[in-house]
Symmetry: C3
Subunit: 147 residues, 3 copies
């Protein structure tokens, strides 16, 4: 992977075969970014690890294999127990144009992928929430409840 950085903005360019989420985590660590926004991602993935949240902390894997275009990547960067965690949802396109989408649990880059993230300096953490079974995003300096 190669990265280009300008202040709070970081672009990562992946090479064929690299693990997308693992690579993002490494680049974020190297750039000392532990909170941020995933601004977008394009490129290709092979056997993208899409999944669907069914509750109780469980994600059902989505049966999608082969090479796909990565067409949108949304999400954010926070920490779980002090460790960088990338929460991302992906939209991918198959060779016939059909789009699939889900929570991104894994997957390797095919050919190349270009990911843009933005660092935040206010910390965000994920804490277990018994009601949803999820590690819910929390703001250590909250803007307060607005609703």
């Amino acid at each position: 992977m190669e990265t280009g950085r300008q202040g709070d903005f970081l672009i990562m360019r992946f090479s064929d075969g690299e693990d997308l989420l693992e690579g993002m985590k490494q680049a974020l660590k190297a750039n000392e970014i532990d909170a941020g926004i995933v601004l977008g991602g394009v490129g290709m993935l092979k056997n993208p690890g899409l999944s669907f949240y069914v509750g109780g902390g469980k994600y059902d894997p989505i049966a999608l294999t082969g090479e796909v275009e990565l067409c949108a990547l949304n999400g954010n960067i926070a920490t779980v127990d002090g460790e960088i965690f990338v929460h991302a949802h992906a939209t991918v396109g198959r060779s016939n144009g059909e789009a699939w989408a889900g929570h991104l649990s894994g997957g390797k880059v095919h050919m190349t992928a270009e990911i843009a993230v933005m660092a935040l300096h206010k910390k965000m953490v994920r804490e277990f929430d018994g009601k949803t079974g999820l590690r819910t995003l929390r703001f250590t300096q909250s803007g307060g409840e607005t609703a």
Copy 2:
């Protein structure tokens, strides 16, 4: 909903059952943001109100019910007659991975949703355009016609 803010960047974390567009509007109001860019959104929605524009000011509702992963949220924030208006298009994924997409007319959060927006200080307004039947985005200090 909880929000975390850093300068022009605002992250909203919704709880189960909250109305997404209404909640965004409330958080924007509380944060005095009336122009901006929707940078992305992830989480889940229940009975997402997707629709398709057919002209003449009419959106046809898309028949999609149940719980879906919110995989991409694009759009912007402007005012219509002085009132904050969020224009967003959503891409969602069903439990089988199938993606659906459209103009977001409504819908409640399922489990949680995390939305990132960026405030702009130059105002943007929406004004009715007879040709398309839409409230077209206008820049009060335009960068000028480039084409």
Copy 3:
């Protein structure tokens, strides 16, 4: 097209019938932006030119015609041989809600489209890579190899 700019952030509002990628290129040129991030896009397209990369520099066109909602636009702006190049992947929704996605090779705006980009001041270039057949994104001032 009309544009609104605030510092490094540029919003383009397209009118019916305008070419999306060509229009973006013109607006970027007029705004002297030759590196950046595509933050998102919403609106509608007619006969969107989606395609799928099959290797060896070849994209297979995806057979999708008609009017669709533009629901997500991800990508970036770099130069190829000194010329501005927009690399974007699009997710679109059909009238029945079905999503399609792919590399965006062309397509005209239907009704309107609103695109947000962010300028970067560090240059990014695309250089031919024999291994993938692609013009790979390179950072002229690299953040270095992190993996």
